[in-house]
Every structure is written in C-alpha cells, then in structure tokens.
C-alpha cells in the first residue's frame, strides 16, 4: 500500500496519532505531527512511498510538534523531535515541513556510519549515477530537479549514500529542497511536478519542496553505480561547459563534502578513493537548463555505449 492510497483524513489521523510509517530507500521512518496544516503537502510529497505497517523496525522515529504552552499561540513554534529527544532550537511553526525534512537528513548524518554519507545530489540513468556535490548556492538542487523531470531518476537531492562494501549508491528518493529563484524556475520548467507553497524566511531563504517522481520512488531499491562526479556551478549567461577534473581535485571535492569522512577514518578514505577510481570527474558551468540536460544526456549515452 502506498501513501496515496490513504484518504487525506486517514493520513491526517495517523500523522496526529501513532504516526505514518513509510520507507524512504533503505530507511524506515515513522513521522508524527501535532501540526495538522502540514498533512496535505506532506501526503503529496510522499504520495508514492510505500507504507510499511508490516515492518516493525523503524530507523527514525521523528516528529514535528507545536511549541509548549504559550508558544502554541504567540509566535507559534515547531519543534523537531527524534524519539522523545529534541536536539534543535525550535523554528517558526510555518517552517514545520522543511524542519521535518532537515531533521530526517540530520538523522541520517548522525546515526548512519555503516555507509559513506556525502552532502551531494545524485541522479541515475539506468544503472549509472552522477554525483553532484556542491556548496549551497551553486545550483545543485535546481539542476537535480530539472534532471529528474527529464528522464533521470532521483537518488537523492541532499545526501548521497554510498555502500562501503560494493561502492554503490542507495537512493533515498525524498523531496528536493528548492531555494529562492530556483522555485519559480522549476515551476516553469516542470509544471507537472508537485511543489509545496514557498516557505519564507528560513535560514536558507525561501524554500519549497518538490515531490520526487513516481518512477524514482518505485525504482529506489535499485542501487546505482557511480559513473560521473560533476561539480556544477550556475553562472548567468554561461554556455553549458564540462571541464575534466583531475582525480586529486575530485577526491578532495568528495572528501570535503562527505559528512562522516572523519568518523569512518581509513574506511572513508578508501571509499572516496574507490568512487574516484570509477567515476569520470568534471566541473560543469551552466545557465540554461535545457543545455545542461543535453550535456548530461550525452554523458549517459556515452556511458551506455561502453
């Protein structure tokens, strides 16, 4: 059974009660919230994700709850809770939905050291995946959102999960976090995609979440082989240009963006090295999304031909 098979009333009741139990890639999550206004958008973001009422092991028991006491009414707050612990400062109630998303990301980075976790987007064509690590503001999420609306499969927008045994990427297929100008760009570029209402004044500016495509969610169990590492950079007016990157630089890019590189020690070093051995590495400058997609499609075609 999928989330979309629940009526909104049922979804809302479960969310406010014992929680929605769903799988996002390798992780089972239980989501609870006493903030009913986020139910509608949350249900649409996760519409195609499977319910796992039959699987009692939950990796992350998380929730967003209203503030205590007066903070329910005056400058209302949202609190992120992971299994009865509240690790973060509350945010304004209007930011409950992104808070839940960021909180889930935090769970992965805090609790999962059996894999290498890279702060990067990743998308796949068939078995081959492109890893897009990049600092905020580089246009990583915009490019990722555009690719998944043009035939690429979303593995992850924010956290790329690498298995330490096979070096494969495990997809998460969770919502894509769009910021500021990219919200309207993607609305125009992919009018069929579901985007939440823009949420103003977060620490990342204005934010909207885009639902992963149905195909991405349904194929999330198919692990992909890293084939390309592409460091994107948006520059107004630039032609789409791929520039090969030396493997030393590429290594440093990945290592810098690996959240648990230092925790994994020698295993982290080896995992990053193994990826770089397998991937073709590029830096990539672009301004027009259609041109950028064409470049990625060409990479994919070369990958298939080999």
């Amino acid at each position: 059974m999928k989330i979309r098979d629940l009526s909104l009333a049922e979804f809302r009741a479960r969310l406010g009660g014992d929680g929605i139990r769903l799988a996002t890639g390798p992780f089972n999550c239980r989501l609870q919230s006493g903030i009913p206004e986020l139910a509608d958008e949350l249900a649409r973001l996760y519409a195609h994700h499977p319910l796992i009422d039959d699987k009692p092991f939950i990796d992350f028991h998380v929730g967003v709850q209203p503030g205590h006491g007066l903070r329910r009414w005056i400058a209302p707050q949202a609190r992120f809770i992971v299994d009865a612990v509240e690790p973060f400062t509350p945010l304004p109630r209007g930011q409950a939905l992104p808070m839940l998303e960021w909180g889930l990301n935090w769970c992965v980075t805090a609790y999962c050291h059996h894999i290498l976790v890279i702060h990067a987007a990743s998308v796949a064509r068939g078995k081959h995946a492109a890893i897009l690590p990049a600092p905020p503001g580089s246009g990583k999420s915009t490019l990722c959102a555009a690719l998944v609306n043009r035939g690429w499969r979303l593995l992850s927008d924010e956290l790329t999960l690498i298995r330490l045994d096979t070096g494969q990427i495990m997809g998460l297929a969770r919502p894509v976090n769009l910021k500021n100008a990219s919200i309207d760009i993607i609305r125009t570029y992919a009018p069929d995609a579901f985007l939440t209402r823009p949420i103003l004044d977060t620490t990342k500016g204005t934010v909207a979440l885009m639902a992963p495509t149905q195909a991405s969610v349904e194929a999330v169990g198919e692990w992909a082989d890293p084939a390309w590492m592409v460091l994107p950079r948006y520059r107004a007016g630039a032609d789409a240009t791929l520039t090969p990157m030396g493997s030393g630089t590429a290594f440093m890019q990945l290592a810098d963006n690996a959240m648990n590189y230092h925790v994994l020690g020698a295993r982290g070093f080896k995992a990053v090295g193994d990826i770089i051995e397998r991937t073709r590495n590029y830096s990539f400058e672009y301004s027009r999304l259609d041109d950028a997609i064409a470049v990625f499609d060409r990479l994919a075609a070369e990958g298939m031909a080999e």
């Binding site: 009692p56 092991f57 299994d83 945010l91 960021w102 980075t109 702060h119 956290l159 959240m259 230092h262």
Partner: protein, 365 residues
C-alpha cells in the same frame, strides 16, 4: 521493559528477539548512550551474526563513532601535554579519556563529549593561562556561573578549544570542596600512573578511576548517562578483579579517600543490575548487599528508575519523581543547606538557557 540491560547481560538472548524488540533495543541503547558498547558486547559474545541487518547498521554505526573518538582523544591528550608543558604541569586524565588513553576495557564503545584532567589546586591559575595561550577558552559567560565554579566547585567552568571545538574540564579535585565527603586530591595525584605509550601523560590509578567513577555516578544529578557510567564501573571492576587481592586494596583506598559510601553503592548496583562478580568477603566487608534501613530502600527505588535507559519505554509514574529526587540528592551532597538554597533560588530566578543547536545539515560537513 528494560530490554537493554537484559541484552547486555545475556547477549545470547538476542536470538529470541522479534523485529519490534530490535526496534526498542536500538532506541533504548541510543537513549543510554550505549549503542557502540552494546555492539562490541554482542560481537565479543560471538552473536553478531544473529543481529538483523537494520539494527546491525545502527549498532555498528555507534561502534564506528566510538572508535573514531579513540583517535581524537589520544590526539587531544598530546595537545594538552604540549600546552601544559611550559608550566611544568603533568596531564592527568580522568574518566572516559583515561579509559581510552590507557586502553582499558572500559573504553569499549565509549562515547563522550569532553576530556577531563586533574591538577593541583595551587597550579590552577597557571594551567588556565597556559591553556588559554594555546586556544582553550572558558565557555561560561555569565558572572554567576563563573563565580559559582571558581568559589564552590571542584573544576573550572568548562573550556572549549576555539579551533578544534574540543571540550575540556579542568578539575582540582574530584568532588566539590563544599561536599560532605572530602577526598584528598594530593593522594590521587601522587598515585597517578604514567602511560607507557603516551609519554608525559598520566591517568589516575585503576582503583582511583573506579572510586572517581563511583563518586561521580552517585553524586551527580544528570541521569542520562548513569547506566552508561554503571557499565563503565562494571568493566573497570572486572578488569581489577584479574588480581583477587586488588579488591581489598580497593576497599582500603576507598576508606582512605572517604569514598566508601559511593563505592558501596557502586558495588551494590553493579552486582545487582549487571551481575558484576563480587568475592563474598568483599560483599561482607563493604556490606554492599545489605538491605537495611529506609534510606537504602528509598535509594533502591530511585536508582531502579534512573539506572536504566532514560527512554519512555522504561519509565513508570515514579520516574519523574526519581529524577527530581536524584537532582536534589546530588545538590544536597554537594553543598551545605544555605548555599544550596541560595544556588537553587538563583537558578529558579535566572533559569539556564536550554542547550539546543540550530538545525543545519550543511554546517556539519
């Protein structure tokens, strides 16, 4: 239901766990800060293959994190040695840092957030200046807290290194000077032992590490790590027990340091909850298993509720009261009544700010 202690004591019992039990076990272990230690316990008992994949991922992650901390702590000990060398002060590690640096079994899967060191009270000023020169800065900003630590406590306000972010507690003794028990810190320093593979770094001797752990456990009001601390004691005591005569030495040392009371409680709860083996003569001499008196029964009621994972699944309706009583008991043991009243009044009027962090995944990279 306290699945964690059951599993910790009887690793082979995991073969009977269903998927929902595993869910609860991982949550309880996380709340008790024992994820990594539980993993290593199961692994050394030879039952790792019986852990299903998903809980295995979580438990393994805890152990991976702890082993990384091992390197970090040893590195930090070297930085401290270099910082204090010009002042001619020896680094004496306490608690978790000492277990790790000395390679004791109590280091297994141990997660901790700071390094604790001990030095002579008269060298406190010199040490603080030497540390500040090398980048450690005091974290207490409020005047009251600064005064409180410096006048009444056994340690300086916590310090943090400005670049590495590592936390440091500088102690001049192991209990507050205002506490009823007054262990002589000079005896601890004299008995400290040099680490062969970390020249210039010392730790407390094994009996003193045990006594410090016991006095910390039964004098602090913060319940979240109590079970973790009890497993430390269990591992330390089992290590001590390699030499049967060391038990007698431990009791004598406790008497010398005025710490027989906390040691008695440590032996009692280690033996009862974790099955720590205890020679009969030691149980008799310390009277640690005697069930006499209303005070002991009250303490048993309190500790039954706090020496378990502080997770909703192990709580009953008396748990909040037990936590509260422990806080009051800790303060009661720590300072005379008038000072206590003054301190609690101040904290009630100016409650400390909650320590939470802004949510950001991007800053962690």
């Amino acid at each position: 239901m306290n699945l964690l202690i059951e599993t910790y004591r009887h690793p082979e019992s995991i073969r009977r766990l269903g998927t929902a039990d595993w869910d609860l076990l991982v949550r309880q272990a996380r709340h008790a800060n024992l994820v990594g230690r539980l993993f290593l316990r199961l692994q050394s008992a030879g039952v790792e293959a019986d852990i299903p994949e998903q809980p295995h991922n979580h438990l393994l992650s805890g152990a991976v994190m702890a082993s990384e901390q091992r390197h970090a702590i040893r590195r930090e000990a070297c930085f401290l040695r270099e910082a204090l060398k010009p002042a001619g002060i020896t680094v004496i590690l306490l608690k978790g840092a000492a277990y790790v640096a000395a390679g004791l079994p109590a280091a297994q899967g141990r997660l901790f957030s700071d390094v604790d060191i001990l030095l002579p009270k008269e060298r406190l000023g010199d040490a603080e200046s030497a540390l500040m020169l090398k980048g450690w800065a005091s974290t207490a900003t409020d005047d009251y807290d600064q005064r409180y630590y410096r006048r009444w406590m056994h340690e300086l306000p916590a310090m943090r290194h400005v670049f590495r972010g590592s936390a440091l507690d500088v102690h001049h003794t192991i209990l507050p000077p205002t506490a009823r028990l007054k262990p002589d810190a000079r005896l601890l320093i004299e008995a400290s032992v040099a680490l062969p593979d970390l020249p210039g770094v010392h730790t407390l001797s094994l009996p003193d590490l045990i006594l410090h752990s016991a006095s910390h456990l039964f004098h602090e009001g913060e319940p979240d790590n109590l079970l973790r601390d009890l497993t430390d004691l269990d591992l330390l005591l089992r290590h001590l027990a390699r030499d049967d005569t060391a038990w007698d030495g431990l009791l004598e040392r406790a008497a010398q340091l005025q710490l027989s009371g906390p040691l008695r409680l440590a032996l009692r709860y280690c033996h009862r909850l974790l099955g720590t083996p205890l020679p009969e003569r030691i149980a008799a001499r310390s009277r640690c298993l005697a069930d006499t008196g209303i005070v002991q029964r009250m303490l048993d009621g309190i500790y039954a509720r706090v020496l378990c994972p502080q997770h909703p699944s192990t709580a009953d309706r008396f748990t909040p009261l037990a936590r509260r009583s422990l806080y009051i008991r800790a303060h009661w043991l720590r300072m005379p009544p008038l000072l206590l009243a003054y301190h609690l009044a101040h904290k009630a009027i100016f409650p400390p700010k909650q320590e939470t962090h802004p949510l950001s995944t991007e800053q962690q990279g």
